[in-house]
Symmetry: C2
Subunit: 232 residues, 2 copies
């Protein structure tokens, strides 16, 4: 398979959708992978599937993994998530929405698929600026994962795997500007940790607050529907 085949982790959120637009723009043959991990937000995988269709990826696979057996996160348990936190608190400490070693597991699945496909490229939408509380979003982690992949797989030992993190150094507003330049329809994406039954975002969780703040900074309205008028 050609060197420009890539496995791309697609949550259906703002970040990974921007990464998909970027990889498509660079002519990668994208194999998109999403995860259904018992999260409260069941809309995620539906949004991811719609976005994958729009970008005409080669294949889109949804992997079911039951992270609830590990416990330890409000995203997959009944513990409350943070709401209405001041923006300067978001991104400090390790938030309750941290799923234990999630990116390690997601990247490992991507690596399995890359190994089976003979693909040397993996794309992931991590960025450290807005997610400094997550140890598995940092460049040092991505470098360590790459080293591990290049030691423990056939493709890695033969010719190397590259983990592409095009958003690594970008703040959320810069990600939106990058996506808009690539024609991303952010109305298709979801960021909210707990949208209502109609799929409308809450506007109050950390993810919504970061997103709304970023759209305000860019100077355009967030096209997704909210449960009530966002207090932007």
């Amino acid at each position: 398979m050609s060197a420009d085949t890539a496995v791309l982790l697609l949550s259906g959120g703002l970040d990974s959708t921007t990464v998909l637009a970027h990889a498509t723009d660079r002519n990668y043959r994208v194999h998109a992978m999403s995860f259904d991990y018992g999260q409260k937000n069941r809309f995620e995988t539906q949004r991811a599937a719609a976005i994958a269709r729009q970008y005409q990826v080669v294949e889109h696979r949804i992997v079911t993994i039951d992270l609830r057996v590990f416990g330890g996160s409000s995203l997959t348990s009944d513990a409350p998530v943070e709401r209405d936190r001041p923006l300067d608190e978001i991104g400090t400490g390790i938030p309750s929405t941290y799923v234990p070693a999630r990116n390690t597991l997601f990247l490992s699945y991507a690596l399995c698929w890359a190994e089976a496909l003979g693909a040397h490229n993996i794309f992931i939408g991590v960025n450290e600026v807005d997610t400094s509380g997550y140890p598995d979003c940092r460049p040092a982690f991505i470098e360590a994962f790459t080293q591990m992949a290049n030691t423990g797989t056939r493709i890695g030992t033969e010719s190397g795997v590259t983990i592409h993190t095009p958003l690594q150094r970008l703040r959320k507003a810069a990600i939106i500007r990058m996506g808009l330049a690539l024609g991303v329809d952010y109305g298709m994406t979801n960021s909210c940790y707990h949208p209502d039954q109609a799929g409308r975002a809450c506007g109050r969780c950390d993810a919504c607050r970061l997103r709304l703040n970023a759209f305000e900074e860019v100077g355009i309205a967030d096209p997704v529907p909210y449960q009530s008028s966002p207090a932007a």
Copy 2:
């Protein structure tokens, strides 16, 4: 949780059962994890559960993962596995039974659980001597995985994770001697890639041939039942 809590990968085979006996002997509080990954060998997880009970582990969890979606291995597809290969060919090259990046995925699951438990120890029964064809059994891979874990997880960044590989430098006969000294009942274990309906080993796949050869070297009979008298 105390520093001696451990997550242990238990396939129910000869190697991981020996590792369990070793970890129990060292007084680790063992949380055992097995995988049902659509393999032909469905007896594995049953054997693993029986062995976990015998060793009175704190908990045993079986994680279902569908490696078949990745393709690429005779262990999880309908492709034939090697049979009756000369012993000096086994362990050369990457065999058809290689599941893409399997140990990366299994260790990542173990790391998720360790992170949720606050456990700093992971045990895995890899050994490079009899499995030199698998890149993810080598010490360099284990070191790279440890580095990644210590960069990308809370427990790793706080106080470090240790991946214990007590069998790393042992040949199969030495593993059996170690297990016998620890009182392991090898009659409970399964190594065969495709046992029959009664659970009897084939005696002809790479795993059976390595196992039979090792028991012969130790000078005792393999206690598991075979489909026919093994040509030892």
